[in-house]
Amino acid sequence: MALDLSEPLQKVIDGLAEDFSDALIDVYQSSGDTFVRIKPEANVEVCRYLKEEHHFIYLTDVIGADRFTSEERFEVIYNLVSLRDRERLFVKAWLEEESPEIASITEVWESANWFERQTYDMFGINFTNHPDLRRMYMPEDFEYYPLRKEFPLLGIPGSIELPSSTPDSEHEI
């Protein structure tokens, strides 16, 4: 496919192709952004490589997505920015459906801490050796993962408790 990459991005793709040829699965462009799909096991090395060699020093976001296909259902997308060459690159990894698991990249970028907690909260993707993997938004007592496609939009009634509407002056002081 015609990849009209800008000059620095071309260097990045070539660098990736020869260093991580086995981990690199697919490189494609969609409406102006370049996406690199890698194997989930190699995400920490690829991210560290991109950070040290190609000056991608700023992690903008870690995005989870639910492809709702039978195999390789969940998707983790890292949104990287290189300030020096003014480029933005997306690194992707697809994960299996039952017990989706990927290594946490908090040791490469500290800002991944909260982004990964949010993806865990929304999709249930488990980030191994994450400093403190807790739910970001929903309370810990909530057992579902809201952004999965099978979770109903209106929520499951009774999954989160509501406060009692009767003032507890009925109970004793």
Partner: protein
């Protein structure tokens, strides 16, 4: 002799009456429905964590002590300040010496570090 204290007594009386009136009004006219949540300490919407009578850190205690020392110093200055002109030069000098002594204690306090509350901070 007794006459000059009348204004103070009136002032005290009015103060007591007013305070009593407001307390009684709010007690009798206002609704009083205590319940367990209402009597709990307010922790901005959350359950209070730990009891309130934890031990305080030392710095509060030191500042309180130094406050008492300088407060009493002001107490001694009042009677002198009322008629310092007629009291003559002698009392002025003794007052200055008195103030200087307490100045020494203030410098000691500052050197000891009771007034700076910063914890030295490495990296964050």
């Amino acid at each position: 002799m007794f006459g000059q204290y009348i204004p103070i007594l009136i002032l005290g009386g009015v103060a007591v009456i007013l305070a009593g009136l407001f307390m009684a009004l709010s007690r009798f006219l206002g609704p009083y429905r205590p319940n367990s949540t209402k009597l709990q300490p307010y922790e901005s919407g959350m359950d209070p964590v730990g009891e309130a009578d934890e031990r305080y850190s030392v710095s509060f205690y030191l500042v309180a002590m130094s406050f008492i020392v300088f407060d009493i110093e002001v107490l001694f200055l009042y009677p002198w300040a009322v008629q310092y002109i007629s009291a003559g030069i002698g009392t002025l000098i003794s007052m200055i010496i008195f103030i200087l002594e307490l100045l020494v204690s203030l410098i000691y306090l500052i050197k000891k570090g009771t007034l700076d509350w910063e914890i030295n901070q490495f990296e964050n």
